[in-house]
């Protein structure tokens, strides 16, 4: 029965619901505990974003007095709103472009290596950093960049360079952050692309060989075209998440150095610091509202674009 009929007979839907409930009451009972959990953990905070329009206090909590757009005025009057928006979107764009190019090319080359055992070994090693926590990665970066670290004490002796105080010089971090991000996460994307490549039917390559196509031609005309849907999906999903960042990367790696904020402060770290360090609920909730709503618009936009490109890959 189509949806239209339910609208005409609202009573019928009610009866159907009760029938369904009686028939599958054990299934309903099963799904109840996780559903309640999701309701509390995910859905209640969604409604909680309205505190961005309130003057938060500890007694009224979610029912604090309304103050309209005051919190937003404070947020957008400062330079911070621009800086954190620029950093969040800028870094994410760099991550998307670099990640796509590096992961795709690495996966293609890895797939072509003659020695399969070595190829597996390389893949495993490249994937390893993905499993280290950001705290561990912060240690690793610190061991290289700290005043006594590998760069300032050992490397500059070998290749005569000037010592650099990395943790107080913001300009270097526009490079350090993407390098660390790629280093830690690229193994994950490579696995996805390798899975995509292994899904390509070998017969295409065999036919190409018979036609005398070389490796580069095969890659151009078979491998990459077959991977395009995967590339589009991962890229658009990443665009949908362009307002979200990995908190650990921006919180742990610069080790919360205030001087580095112009190039390392993003929405997530800003909200965290406003909430926990300064206890400024107004500013934090305004920035959080901004992140949630604009982020959601990006998600809807990305999904709309997928719908335009290829209907079957539309997410919802």
């Amino acid at each position: 029965m189509s949806k239209g009929n339910f609208e005409i007979y609202p009573k019928l839907t009610k009866i159907r619901f009760i029938q369904e409930f009686v028939k599958n009451k054990e299934l309903f009972l099963m799904i109840l505990p996780p559903s309640i959990f999701i309701l509390i953990n995910n859905y209640i905070p969604m409604f909680g974003i309205v505190i961005a329009f309130q003057n938060y206090n500890y007694e009224d909590r979610f029912f604090s007095p309304w103050i309209g757009f005051k919190n937003f005025e404070f947020l957008f009057k400062s330079d911070n709103a621009w800086i954190i928006t620029r950093n969040t979107i800028g870094y994410n764009l760099v991550f998307i472009v670099l990640g796509l190019i590096i992961a795709l090319s690495t996966a293609i080359v890895l797939n072509e290596l003659r020695n399969r055992i070595l190829a597996k070994f390389y893949q495993s090693v490249i994937f390893l950093p993905y499993f280290l926590s950001w705290v561990v990665v912060a240690y690793l970066v610190y061991s290289i960049l700290s005043p006594d670290g590998l760069y300032n004490k050992s490397l500059i002796k070998i290749i005569h360079l000037a010592p650099i105080d990395w943790y107080t010089t913001p300009k270097f971090w526009t490079f350090i952050i993407p390098i660390v991000h790629i280093w830690k996460t690229i193994g994950y994307s490579i696995v996805i692309y390798l899975a995509g490549i292994s899904g390509i039917n070998q017969e295409y390559y065999e036919a190409a060989v018979l036609d005398g196509a070389n490796k580069i031609q095969q890659t151009k005309s078979i491998t990459i075209p077959f991977l395009i849907p995967l590339m589009i999906i991962t890229t658009i999903m990443a665009v949908g998440n362009i307002f979200r960042t990995d908190f650990g990367l921006f919180y742990q790696i610069p080790m919360q150095q205030g001087l580095l904020k112009p190039t390392t402060d993003v929405l997530d770290t800003y909200i965290y610091n406003a909430l926990i360090t300064s206890g400024d609920f107004g500013m934090a909730s305004a920035a959080g509202f901004y992140q949630s709503i604009v982020g959601f618009i990006f998600v809807l936009f990305a999904n709309w674009v997928v719908g335009k490109v290829s209907k079957e890959n539309k997410i919802f």
């Binding site: 159907r16 369904e20 599958n24 054990e26 299934l27 309903f28 099963m30 799904i31 505990p33 996780p34 959990f37 999701i38 509390i40 953990n41 995910n42 209640i44 905070p45 969604m46 409604f47 909680g48 974003i49 909590r61 979610f62 080359v109 290596l113 003659r114 390389y122 495993s124 090693v125 490249i126 994937f127 390893l128 926590s133 705290v135 561990v136 240690y139 690793l140 970066v141 061991s143 290289i144 700290s146 006594d148 670290g149 590998l150 004490k153 050992s154 696995v191 996805i192 899975a195 390559y205 490796k215 650990g248 997530d268 909430l275 934090a284 909730s285 959080g288 949630s292 959601f296 919802f316």
Partner: protein, 306 residues
């Protein structure tokens, strides 16, 4: 014969030997870049503190010493406690998480469950939109009062939409409706079917999301950062974070506990101690990595298929 044929085409259709050598060289260099930072902290942790101060961090220390590890052994309570917290959270959290995930994923994989699409969207929507940190934090600290309790480290990530979708995909591909129907005809209730048929048949996917969950809990420091102020509930990662911020976290109680018994040890090996702590924290993951990585990749590709 087809195998022979495949081999033949493979050897014809391979990259040139020269190109192969160059690519292997590039990959070797990148692999060294992946492993060398870990190597560096391992070497620093066994470097003598004084030679470290004069030479800085280097792969080739002039003098080797295990003072940092001896120091950690003397001061084992905090580390052991942190390990206890992490292991407890990993076990309890993973068990509850897997159970809740199955309880959600199984009904929405059943075609006879009319509202499966409604519930699918109910969980999927949490991936698209969220209320952000502030209301969530207020909920946990002011309404549920979970801060400064081990529950704060376990509860928040219990049900993840990604895991539910992985299990749902697996079940709808590997659990034929015919089995369920025949069990129903034999008079089995849904809970009995769940326990006797669904769980045994989904062991591979349970292993997968169990692994995801263990790794997530093991590497967590964020929940500790947000909710835990009492050092007795610090987990391993958060202890490492505290040590990175200031070495005093480990050495504060040192003077009184060691006393005059070992004067030589009272000189705190600061930097090497830090790196020894990092090694102790990262060790289990690195050692377990060769064993779990292929299962992780399997689970990942399962989830990515959709």
């Amino acid at each position: 014969m087809s195998n022979k044929y495949k081999k033949a085409t493979l050897s014809i259709n391979s990259i040139k030997r020269k190109t192969n050598v160059i690519f292997n060289l590039l990959f070797s260099i990148y692999c060294i870049l992946c492993l060398s930072p870990l190597m560096l902290i391992l070497v620093v942790s066994i470097t003598d503190e004084e030679s470290l101060i004069s030479n800085g961090y280097t792969f080739f220390p002039t003098k080797i010493s295990f003072t940092a590890y001896r120091y950690l052994l003397l001061n084992y309570e905090k580390i052991l406690r942190a390990y206890g917290v992490t292991i407890f959270v990993c076990i309890v959290g993973t068990f509850i998480s897997v159970l809740l995930t199955l309880l959600f994923a199984y009904p929405i994989s059943r075609k006879s469950f009319r509202y499966r699409n409604v519930f699918s969207f109910y969980i999927f929507f949490t991936m698209l939109f969220n209320g952000g940190l502030v209301p969530w934090y207020i909920l946990y600290t002011q309404y549920l009062n979970l801060d400064d309790s081990p529950a704060a480290l376990i509860v928040p990530p219990l049900v993840s939409a990604f895991n539910v979708l992985v299990v749902k995909t697996y079940l709808s591909m590997n659990l034929p409706d015919a089995i369920i129907e025949s069990a129903r005809i034999d008079g089995a209730g849904e809970f009995r079917i769940f326990y006797k048929i669904v769980i045994p048949l989904s062991v591979p996917v349970i292993a997968t999301i169990g692994l995801f969950s263990v790794l997530m809990y093991w590497n967590d420091w964020y929940l500790c950062l947000l909710f835990i102020h009492d050092p007795k509930y610090y987990n391993v990662q958060y202890t490492m974070y505290q040590v990175l911020r200031s070495i005093e976290f480990l050495t504060s109680s040192q003077a009184s506990s060691v006393g005059e018994a070992s004067n030589e040890l009272l000189k705190v090996p600061g930097e090497t101690l830090r790196m020894a702590m990092a090694i102790i924290g990262v060790g289990p993951i690195v050692f377990a990595y060769p064993f779990f990585q292929k299962y992780f990749i399997k689970g990942l590709t399962l989830g990515a298929i959709k």
